[in-house]
């Protein structure tokens, strides 16, 4: 046993080192204010300070950091998208993730498992081939595999899916990973705090002060704060915050639910996704199966859970893994997914000067946390969005230049 650990064990008092200062009173003004202490807001704060030397920054979080979709997601990280813009963007995120534990000096449990998107129909196989070609072209390791290779990677899987939806093949994506979501938020929070960024929990932005088409400050539950630059990184709350500045977006909010089983010995090495059966599953480092499905079918602004969801999901899980019939689901929860019509995010500048938007992350934004933080920090620092996120701009809708990402983003995460 290391000496340090022994000493720690014998100590009477155990101090609990904080990840970031417990601040209560914001300053009168900041160079930039970030609304939302999810992974995206915290990452943007970290890169503003680290890459651009802008450290007079406040992150305002209405609840606790990571308590939004960041702490509710099923943590799948991948870049096997359909459009070259999408693949490039998510690949840049995967590359940052791979070195992020080291950079943030925190174990994010980033675990590369390989990711199979199962195809049960000929048309799904066609999309898999298409994605594989686009991925290869951009330099991302994805290829189509047959049932034998799937069986080798996951012998427990019933390839016929109870005879209902036989598996014809899959898109295999080698870099597919999972990570510990809370740690991503905490790591960025600690990193940003150390560089001087101030994080305020239990601090809600209630209004945005716009004067002559320019941001002048924000009203908060802890008083008024003057600033010329505001980033909204509030995922499921985006329509509410955009309403404060009268910025129109296509975003609608649907709940997305997930659940976990009781822990089991490790048996599932890879990440499996089935679009036809609306299931995605991986096994956490604690041994729980982490499972999710498709969106709830109508708009709701709440994080309530439903029995319909677990019933539907588990019946499909049993089609794939009949031997799980006596395993219990122990927890379920929901997040509020900010959905866009083309399944791509909305990032960058808006018609209001100094109001920047990082939104439309729907069911797929955890994997983008590092790269969205980095590119939004650059957008705020230079008042100009980098090329990498040009196709995700809000004005793509009035330009009728939507992205074509739906085929790879819908159930896939």
């Amino acid at each position: 046993m290391p000496y340090r650990l022994l000493k720690f064990a014998l100590k009477k008092e155990h101090d609990e080192p904080r990840f970031f200062r417990a601040l209560e009173t914001p300053k009168k003004s900041y160079d930039a204010v970030i609304i939302g202490g999810g992974g995206h807001g915290l990452a943007a704060a970290y890169y503003l300070a680290k890459d651009h030397g802008i450290t007079n920054v406040a992150v305002l979080e209405r609840g606790y950091i990571g308590g939004g979709n960041t702490g509710r997601n099923t943590t799948i990280v991948r870049s096997n998208y359909l459009t070259p813009e999408g693949v490039n963007f998510y690949d840049a995120s995967v590359k940052i993730y791979e070195g992020l534990s080291e950079e943030l000096d925190l174990n994010l449990f980033y675990s590369t498992r390989g990711h199979f998107t199962l195809a049960h129909t000929e048309s799904a196989m066609r999309t898999m081939r298409w994605r594989a070609e686009v991925n290869k072209h951009v330099g991302v390791e994805s290829y189509v595999v047959g049932p034998d290779e799937i069986a080798k990677a996951c012998p427990q899987l019933d390839l016929s899916c109870s005879g209902k939806a036989p598996i014809l093949g899959a898109l295999f994506h080698a870099p597919g990973s999972v990570a510990r979501h809370d740690a991503v938020a905490w790591g960025y929070a600690r990193g940003a705090d150390r560089l001087g960024v101030e994080i305020f929990q239990n601090t809600e932005v209630t209004g945005i002060d716009v004067q002559g088409g320019k941001v002048a400050g924000v009203q908060t539950s802890r008083g008024y704060i003057a600033t010329n630059r505001v980033l909204s990184a509030v995922a499921g709350f985006t329509p509410r915050v955009c309403k404060m500045v009268d910025v129109k977006t296509p975003i609608v909010i649907h709940p997305l639910q997930a659940c976990v089983t009781e822990p089991m010995k490790p048996w599932l090495d890879t990440i499996l996704v089935s679009g036809s059966l609306h299931v995605y599953v991986s096994q956490s480092s604690r041994g729980e199966l982490v499972m999710g499905s498709s969106l709830d079918p109508y708009e709701v602004h709440s994080t309530r859970s439903s029995l319909d969801f677990v019933e539907g999901l588990t019946s499909h899980m049993l089609d794939m893994f009949p031997f799980l019939s006596n395993i219990k689901v122990v927890r379920q929860w929901a997040g509020m997914a900010d959905m866009t019509p083309d399944f791509a995010p909305i990032m960058g500048k808006t018609p209001v000067d100094g109001f920047y938007l990082d939104a439309g992350w729907g069911t797929w934004g955890f994997k983008a946390t590092p790269i969205s933080g980095k590119t939004m920090a650059e957008t705020i620092a230079r008042d100009k969005a980098p090329e990498l996120i040009h196709s995700f701009r809000l004005s793509r809708f009035e330009d009728y230049e939507l992205t074509g990402e739906k085929g790879a983003a819908s159930v896939g995460h």
Binding site: P239, P297, V300, H301, F397
Partner: protein
């Protein structure tokens, strides 16, 4: 189980219904600007509130309007399109 009152068939389980989105006024395509038309096509009133929405009772093929609070999921009333006043 959630229940919805279909104006034709009465109270039925939510699984029989399909959500059709918020009821929206279409601007006159010949009169409105390109920007207003793009707003109509793409943008949505995504903020929570009491909304008038299209719902579809699939087994009977009935489209109707539901006034629903999108925060609490409470359905205040349902009626056939254009028959709001009669209720």
């Amino acid at each position: 189980m959630k229940l919805i009152n279909c104006p034709i068939n009465g109270v039925r389980p939510v699984s029989e219904f399909v959500f059709g989105g918020e009821l929206r006024e279409m601007p006159d395509p010949d009169q409105c600007s390109d920007a207003d038309w793009a707003t109509y096509v793409h943008h949505r009133n995504g903020a929570p509130g009491l909304k008038k929405e299209w719902w579809y009772h699939a087994p009977s093929g009935t489209w109707f309007i539901a006034e629903r609070n999108t925060m609490t999921e409470e359905i205040v009333r349902t009626y056939l399109f254009g028959q709001e006043e009669e209720k």
